[in-house]
């Protein structure tokens, strides 16, 4: 489903975020990309979702080499993903419902069908009663759950989250992780980039350890790490 092969990423500033990263993720997997801050986790996520392009190497998603794709094809690749960002990227001048409607408007769903789907997604994350609220009125955990509702409303094959629990208390983080687990259980490929390894034992995912821009094999993980 997702295949990284000898991927290097150097930013225009000269900073080398990834150095020869190779790994494969199969459909239906639950994968944790872990590592310290600045290790390259976010860059991995951005490359997978075609938000950034690799400097060299290949990133293949559903058989499509992203480096070889025309610019106009990239939005369609991104629609394979439900993206959850650390800072949620919610629209605070819109209602909760409007935020979830945005991905459906992008694919051109009729307003009636879009409304149904958006409410179902909000129901799934426990925010249906807050549909008319402004996201700013939600707690941190609720905002992250709203971001998840927006990510899954288009029923993507892959749910990709970058540090989804970074700014949450333990209870809220637990609720968010339970949601990811639930989506994984219904067959969605879930990829979580996080430096918080306490959830590894709880969810028993496959773990990719990123360090200094490289993905380490399980046996190469430092002592005490997941």
């Amino acid at each position: 489903m997702i295949s990284f092969s000898a991927v290097h990423k150097r930013y225009p500033t000269g900073y080398e975020a990834l150095r020869g990263v190779s790994f494969d993720i199969e459909a239906g997997e639950l994968v944790f990309i872990t590592g310290h801050s600045g290790a390259g986790k976010t860059t991995l996520c951005k490359l997978a979702a075609a938000i950034e392009r690799p400097t060299s190497g290949s990133v293949v998603v559903n058989g499509q080499n992203l480096a070889a794709l025309r610019k106009s094809a990239i939005p369609y690749v991104r629609r394979n993903f439900g993206l959850v960002f650390q800072d949620q990227k919610l629209l605070f001048d819109r209602t909760v419902l409007d935020n979830v409607l945005l991905p459906l408007a992008i694919v051109g769903l009729s307003p009636k069908e879009a409304g149904k789907r958006a409410r179902a997604a909000l129901d799934k994350v426990g925010l249906l009663e807050r549909e008319k609220a402004n996201p700013i009125a939600l707690s941190g955990g609720e905002q992250q759950r709203l971001a998840i509702a927006r990510a899954v409303v288009n029923r993507p094959a892959i749910l990709l989250a970058d540090e989804p629990t970074a700014n949450l208390d333990t209870d809220s983080a637990g609720e968010v992780m339970e949601l990811f687990k639930a989506f994984h259980q219904v067959g969605v490929t879930v990829i979580l980039a996080t430096h918080d390894t306490q959830w590894v034992r709880h969810l028993n995912p496959r773990v990719l350890w990123v360090e200094h821009g490289q993905v380490r094999a399980p046996g190469e993980r430092p002592e005490g790490q997941a």
Binding site: P12, A49, I51, E52, R53, K71, S72, P75, Y76, R78, R79, F81, L83, F85, K89, L91, L102, P103, A105, I106, V107, G108, L109, S110, P111, R150, A151, N154
Partner: protein, 301 residues
Amino acid sequence: MNAWLTQHLSALQGAWQRLAASPLNTVLSLLVIGIALTLPAAGVVVLDNLRQAAAGVASTQQISVFLSPEASRKEATEMESRLRQEVSGSIVFVPREDALKRLQGTAGMAELVASLPRNPLPDAFIVEPRNAAPEQLEALAKTLSAWPKVAHVQLDSAWIKRFDAFLRLGRLAVLLLAAAFAAALVAVTFNTIRLQILAQADEIEVAKLIGATDGFIRRPYYYFGALQGILGGLIAMLLVSAAVAVLSGPVSQLASLYATAFRLHGLGLDHSLLLLGVGALLGWLGAQLSVGLYLRQIEPK
């Protein structure tokens, strides 16, 4: 097809909502666009009316054909027959005696004419051809002057040429004016949409991240620009129509003093549609430049 239609309807609805969201800004922008379109549109109306007025005057163009003093009345009659065969229009014979009487009737000329030992005026024909195009008149005058017993052919078409040159210059001036105001209209739309984009930068960023195409992002702004241009064009049409309504009475009065039935007319259907179309096109262009520039700026390098 349904998705395509849904997205276009949604973009159009969004554009209307944006226009309605800040009425004062919208009204001011529309006034600027409307006035920018009014000036060249008014120029077109003025030129069009002048052209029609000139056509009315030109249709009474005359050629005076003066015969040689030695031409007999019989020769004059033969020439009249030939003229009627070859020229389509009005042909009036003015005998030299009638011409002298007319001259005597002119203020201050009676004494002068009385002092003349003999009638110095020749017989003449006043020819008013149906086809009064300047080129045709000139060609006819040239032909007539080559006829025997014709001493002089007089055609005062120089003013028509001058007027024609003036109209051409006017058209060029209107074209330049239109180009300048078109640039202004594009700039106004560019700026209006730039401000909207900056206010919606977060939404654009999120939409792009979750799979929006550039077309999806551009579309509402295209509709906004085109709608703004069309509404500006409507304002221009109203202003021109109001000006024509105010001026048509006095212009008709002036025309009646010159014994013509000239009536001022406004923008026709073709020019009105052209005005709306140009407004829409320029608005779309302003939007295209503004959104295109922004999308290039945020593209990851």
